[in-house]
């Protein structure tokens, strides 16, 4: 006797995260997975960036900070700010 299940379409639901912890951006105090005050949409429109010092901020926030400062330093640790290159697919996650 047959008993066969054929999945035609599996419509799943997922949420995304910047994988930056459950924390908030140190500049705007908004969650990384949300958007900074002047951003309208989260995600692609409100990217999160890391410095080589491993501190993370919303791109908009750190850009504004850097523009307002003479020296390009991380607002947290005062180390020279440099964007850390994203290692594409580097650390294959635990998914």
């Amino acid at each position: 006797m047959t008993f066969e299940v054929k999945i035609k379409k599996w419509h799943a639901v997922a949420s995304w995260t910047w994988n930056a912890g459950d924390d908030v951006c140190g500049i705007c105090r908004m969650p990384f997975d949300g958007c900074p005050p002047d951003g309208k949409f989260p995600g692609d429109d409100s990217p999160v960036v890391w410095g080589i010092c491993t501190h993370a901020f919303h791109l908009q926030c750190i850009n504004r900070w850097l523009q307002s400062q003479a020296e390009q330093k991380c607002p947290f640790c005062r180390r020279q700010w440099e964007f850390k290159q994203a290692v594409v697919g580097g650390e294959d996650s635990d998914t």
Partner: protein
């Protein structure tokens, strides 16, 4: 002395006889010679001061006799009228086929004649009296001022006494009021019947409301009525007469209106009623009121009185039917317009409010009525009242009970939101959606807590539009004129805050979006755009992000699918599987209602697909990654069982359960639950679905554990009570509020100390100070709870700050 007495006696005799006889012929302008002599005789003896009293008593005595004659003369008339009135009572039942009972002409003539006689008698006596007094005055210029005044006043005084005596008279054993009432009633009926008969012949007459003489029953008809009315006036019976014909005219109008209103709401009755009041009743009044300028003024006053009476009567009739008028809205627009005009011209507002409120409470606000019906009736009420009372004061007064009642129903918000977001087929929803579309009354009417800068401009605009409430508006209610016709803001305002509404909208939107098998959300987008216009973009930002997530998901899904399995960065290439059957909605979780975070173990083939998908996503979007929400989503599958092929659209959990039975025909419940990572109870609740479908069966041998077994053939057995389908995204509102209630003392204490606080400060202080239980709620949850406290009237919300009541 004796000479004086003789003179006095002769004067008394002569004047008494003259007074008694007065009126028989035309009144004289001069005193008869013998009387003049008698007067001169007594004045010569200095008896002048005694004259007025003597004359008056003689005149009144003569009058008494005259009144007795009048009463006797009117006896037959009164009897005939009474018979006519009595006959009419029976006649009504026969539908008036005999026409109005007629007063025989000779009796009407007798009435006029008797009145004329009385009238002339009083007139002549008065005149005689005045002449006598004048004569005394002339021949005795040395009288004291008081005596002179008494002499001058004798004539008018007699007239008054005569009127008083006549009013007290009881012609034919009836009061004047009853007699005249019957008389006028008869006449008016005759007139109206004649007018009705003439109407057929002469439509134009009814149009201009000025019935010509042609509509009078017959030529002498009007003249008699006019004469009777004129004599009554002359006799000083004006008040009685007017009272009688006023009552008659009002009764006539009332009966006419009652006949004409057959509870039909689709045509106006006010216009015809006003036209009618200006035709027959006014024609009647034209006859009974005096002619000349006095009469014209009185007629004008009567015209106004009649139209007021019509407004009031029509208003009363319509008001009694208001509930049904609202039910029939918008077909009942004519009736509503009637009410509008009546309210403008009368002061029925209070009565209207009381009657309508009562019918609402009696007929609508009952446990048996469906919430959707109450909302529909409320919407119709809002629209109908906006049409009949633009100031909104009445709406404010009657909507109180409806709003209070709806506030007490738990599914109200859900009903409103459902009807706003429901599918196209639903007609009721369409009307609400159309209402949402009605942007003219949109956002600006909103109490702008959050719009900041615009608020001043809006307030100014509001101020320019302000009009005073009607005087009889209930001052305890704030004027809500601006929002009178704005259905949506009124519905939303039921709970006192739009946040609650928006939250409910968001949670329903989430339900809808997550249960979709595709990414199409045009309708949701349209609704959202309309809501944005109304509530402001800021308040609906979350919903906007949610819909954007869907659009983004569609794009990302296509991108993920196009990433080849051989793409270099995907190190675990050997684990990658075909993901054509998989598609995903990827949400920005902070902007959605709380999504269930707990997981269950998906079948390995599915989790392989998911991790492949996630890996490809990561290769596109690093450093972002996906977190699956296995409970959410939908699965469409084909099930081949026995020789049958079945198609299902089910939740991922149901699909997973079924897949486990592919490899094994039976599973002990505990084992399957462990395999799936859920509690056996939870599993049972879900698996019942498949048992009811006849796909699986359960069996429990005594002392042994529960076993689920797949059926080799589809079985149709008795259904087992099924769990509530659909995963609730958030716990019921009541549970959440129960959780929040633990913080109520904190909130109350805070507001006692600080007087007024905005939401975010309450939130922050709770975070800082509330430790038992620790505060772990979101700002939205707190906002919803505070909204609830506002609705419960424990707090008030003004300009974005909460205070204690």
């Amino acid at each position: 002395m004796a000479a004086a007495a003789a003179a006095w006696l002769s004067f008394a005799d002569a004047s008494g006889a003259a007074l008694a006889a007065a009126g028989g012929s035309a009144a004289t302008a001069r005193l008869p010679g013998d009387l003049a002599g008698a007067v001169d005789g007594i004045t010569a003896h200095g008896l002048a001061p005694l004259v007025p009293a003597q004359l008056l008593s003689a005149a009144v005595a003569a009058l008494r006799a005259r009144v007795a004659r009048l009463q006797a003369a009117l006896g037959p008339v009164a009897a005939a009228l009474e018979a006519a009135a009595a006959g009419e009572g029976g006649e009504d039942e026969e539908d008036g086929e005999q026409g109005a009972a007629a007063l025989p002409e000779e009796l009407e003539d007798a009435l006029a004649e008797a009145l004329r006689e009385a009238c002339e008698g009083v007139e002549a006596a008065t005149q005689l009296l005045s002449l006598l007094c004048e004569r005394v005055l002339c021949s005795q210029p040395t009288l004291s001022a008081a005596d002179r005044a008494a002499l001058l006043a004798a004539g008018p005084r007699f007239r008054r006494d005569a009127a008083a005596a006549l009013v007290d008279a009881q012609p034919g054993g009836h009061s004047w009021a009853a007699l005249l009432y019957r008389y006028y009633w008869l006449k008016l009926r005759q007139l109206s019947e004649a007018a009705a008969a003439a109407e057929g012949e002469d439509e134009a007459m009814a149009e201009d409301g000025e019935p010509g003489s042609s509509s009078l029953p017959h030529p002498g008809w009007g003249a008699r009525l006019r004469d009777v009315a004129a004599y009554l006036r002359a006799l000083g019976l004006e008040a009685v007469s007017e009272e009688a014909f006023a009552a008659v005219v009002c009764r006539h109008l009332r009966e006419h209106l009652e006949e004409r209103t057959h509870r039909a709401f689709d045509e106006r009755i006010l216009g015809p009623a006003l036209r009618y009041s200006a035709s027959t009743p006014l024609a009647f009044l034209r006859l009974v009121l005096p002619q000349g300028t006095d009469g014209a003024a009185a007629l004008a006053a009567w015209r106004a009185r009649l139209s007021y009476y019509v407004y009031e009567a029509v208003g009363g009739l319509r008001i009694a039917d208001m509930f049904d008028i609202v039910v029939d809205w918008p077909d009942s627009l004519p009736a509503v317009e009637d009410i509008r005009d009546c309210l403008q011209n009368t002061s029925l507002h209070r009565r209207f409010v009381a009657a309508f409120r009562k019918s609402l409470t009696d007929r609508l606000l009952r446990p048996g009525a469906a919430t959707a019906d109450i909302i529909a009736q409320y919407v119709s009420t809002i629209k109908a009242l906006a049409a009949c009372d633009p100031s909104g004061a009445i709406l404010g007064a009657v909507s109180g009970p409806i709003r209070a009642y709806l506030r007490g129903r738990r599914d109200t918000i859900r009903c409103i939101v459902t009807s706003l977001t429901a599918d196209e087929e639903d007609a009721a929803a369409q009307s609400l959606l159309a209402e949402l579309d009605n942007t003219e009354a949109a956002a600006e009417d909103y109490d702008s807590d959050f719009e900041g800068g615009e608020a001043d401009a809006l307030a100014l605009k509001e101020a320019e539009r302000w009009e005073p409430d009607p005087v009889d508006a209930d001052p305890s209610r704030a004027s809500s004129a601006a929002a009178a016709g704005d259905v949506i803001s009124r519905l939303v305002g039921i709970y006192g805050s739009k946040e609650l509404f928006i939250n409910e909208y968001r949670s329903m939107l989430a339900d809808r979006l997550l249960s979709k098998g595709d990414y199409e959300c045009d309708r949701e987008l349209r609704t959202l755009e309309l809501l944005k216009v109304r509530f402001g973009e800021g308040n609906l930002h979350n919903a906007e992000v949610m819909l954007k997530d869907l659009a983004d998901s569609k794009r990302i899904n296509a991108n993920v699918k196009s990433v080849p399995n051989t793409a270099t960065p995907l190190r675990r290439r050997r684990h990658l599987v075909d993901i054509n059957a998989l598609q995903a909605t990827i949400v920005s979780h902070l902007f959605w209602p709380q999504l269930p975070a707990e997981e269950f173990n998906l079948p390995s083939e599915v989790s392989a697909m998911l991790s492949t998908y996630a890996a490809k996503y990561r290769s596109l979007k690093a450093p972002r990654k996906l977190q699956w929400r296995p409970w959410l989503g939908t699965v469409s599958l084909d099930l081949a069982i026995g020789d049958q092929m079945l198609e299902f659209n089910v939740s991922p959990f149901h699909a997973s359960v079924l897949m486990h039975f592919q490899s094994r025909p039976e599973w002990p419940a505990a084992e399957l639950a462990e395999r799936m990572g859920v509690a056996p109870d939870a599993l049972r609740r879900k698996i019942v679905f498949w048992i009811n479908q006849g796909v699986l069966s359960e069996s429990r041998v005594a002392g042994q554990q529960l076993v689920y077994r797949r059926n080799e053939q589809l079985q149709t057995g008795p259904a087992v009570a099924q769990e509530q389908e659909g995963m609730e995204l958030e716990g019921g509102a009541a549970d959440k509020h129960a959780e929040m209630a633990a913080y109520e003392p904190f909130i109350m204490g805070m507001l006692t100390n600080f007087d007024a606080l905005p939401l975010d400060r309450v939130h922050n202080m709770l975070k800082m100070f509330a430790s038992d239980p620790p505060y772990d709620k979101s700002l939205e949850q707190l906002g919803a709870y505070m909204g609830r406290l506002v609705a419960d009237e424990k707090l008030s919300l003004e300009g974005g700050t909460y205070r204690k009541r």
